[in-house]
Symmetry: C2
Subunit: 305 residues, 2 copies
């Protein structure tokens, strides 16, 4: 793809940082700018070569051709209208679109584009639904991550072979969408489009529920460990796998749980219902019922490798 | 270590098969015999080089110096008394211990040893508590595995760096124990001793609960998938990690859940209680409470890598 020009990271953590590393490795940007509310993260991002320069929020929005908004969902929803205000003001103050800002000569993005990467989409699209510069925003979600956070956790190739979601694509300008699609492709992602509403229901099932489960498992086992320090001698790979997500960061997950609670609560209830069925079958040592539940659950192997 | 002589596998699946592959790779046995109730598994174990010969159950018990009992927990508890009967009869019929059977000249094990590898221990030790040949049996549990089963799933190095449990060690003969300890060490395991009772409580927390959780998660998501085939576009690494154990085999897990239900039910209840607390905090969008739960759960990172 042609150059993205100046790419600005608002939030220099795992997702934004990993995208920046790929963008740099693929020579997709002329310059990478960074802004992070946490000074430690900003300094680490520069030290780790994730960004070329740390700038103020205002400078970043003014100078970037592509803004990657990779901060917790609630903060993103709160900040996005201001970003679009600044972009809108900048555009309307100019004589013509091409004069808005310096743009790399071969850049696909003739006006600044904002891409967010949050795990909940409805509150974010709602926050700018009627904004005059809504078209410059693409509601994205690269479906990759780890249980770690911060610029130290960023790594190249995190998105290779993964799905890159774009929500409510009809509300983004064609060139903004094309810019994000080209970025996803360059990072090795397969584009999937859906509504923000559908996205938030699906992620409640396949991502947010897994985190609730994993946090609850960790709490249960840590509680037991208070009485018995030896319990972890027995923790094998199965436990590590199921409890891995319990390492995930509160800054990211509290806003996700809060903002997707309407979708998540019925999913937790559906899960609790299966858990109760399992418990009943165990309590009554009902072998045929347990076998039936397990063999039905085994069908998951056609889905996950 | 010196040779184990003839090693016989009753059950040629993941755990027994993987131990056999390591035993062969380390040249610890003169001969590896196999018996499996499932003819397909037996044939595969021979084809894959896990065993040298497939024999009858009676031949295997009569000819082996070390018997690895690696079949589901309920089957192991049912079969073990008969194995010890045969060993006992063989010993008592002989003039002296050394004359019982041919033994490799440098073998540590002067009489046949039986090691089981089941994930539940109380029903198995109970089944032979007062058996005259109890001392020849070692109640083991190598804390490793995968979500796959059968001889095809067996692999070398599965136990490297893992914990190898021995339960109720005081009920095993010193030489039988020494034989198993040497085997664990050769396979790269760190020996941990505990009572069968403690083992079954601990595994309920760190293994069996994880499986209940994972099966229930898979059932929940598969149920949703009936209505929406696109949900798995969104399934990322977090979901795969949490749902991985749901691929596990019913033949193995139905007996575990049945036979460890007294320990497992209160653990499921403790977990359900944490799940409810999480649900309440989400329902009321109680940010500080969610943060507190998540940050407490994060302490799991000191335990699992």
């Amino acid at each position: 793809m042609s150059s993205l020009g100046t790419v600005g990271l608002i939030g220099t953590g795992l997702i934004g940082g990993s995208m920046a590393l790929d963008i740099r490795a693929c020579h997709l940007a002329d310059t990478l700018l960074g802004y992070d509310k946490k000074a430690d993260n900003a300094a680490a991002a520069q030290r780790l070569g994730i960004v070329d320069r740390i700038v103020s929020y205002e400078e970043l929005v003014a100078e970037s051709d592509l803004i990657l908004l990779s901060i917790p969902a609630s903060a993103a929803a709160a900040l996005l209208p201001d970003i679009l205000d600044r972009i809108g003001a900048c555009v309307s103050a100019s004589a013509g679109m091409d004069a808005v800002r310096p743009v790399a000569s071969d850049c696909d993005c003739v006006r600044p584009v904002v891409l967010d990467v949050c795990s909940v989409k409805q509150p974010i699209v709602d926050a700018v639904r009627n904004h005059p510069a809504r078209g410059r925003f693409v509601a994205g979600h690269p479906m990759s991550g780890t249980e770690y956070s911060g610029p130290q956790a960023a790594r190249q190739g995190l998105f290779e072979g993964k799905v890159g979601i774009v929500c409510d694509a009809q509300d983004s300008d064609a060139d903004a969408l094309a810019c994000v699609e080209a970025l996803y492709e360059a990072l090795g992602m397969r584009l999937v489009k859906m509504s923000a509403e559908q996205h938030d229901i699906h992620t409640a099932y396949v991502s947010h529920l897994s985190h609730v489960i994993s946090f609850s498992l960790a709490l249960t086992v840590l509680d037991k460990e208070k009485d018995d320090k030896h319990i972890f001698d027995l923790a094998s790979g199965g436990f590590s796998s199921t409890a891995r997500l319990a390492k995930s960061n509160a800054d990211m997950w509290v806003p996700i749980f809060e903002s997707n609670r309407e979708n998540l609560l019925p999913v937790i209830d559906a899960y609790s219902d299966y858990l109760s069925r399992f418990r009943s079958a165990i309590a009554s040592a009902d072998g045929p019922k347990l076998r039936s539940l397990i063999e039905t659950a085994n069908r998951i192997q056609k889905i996950i490798q």
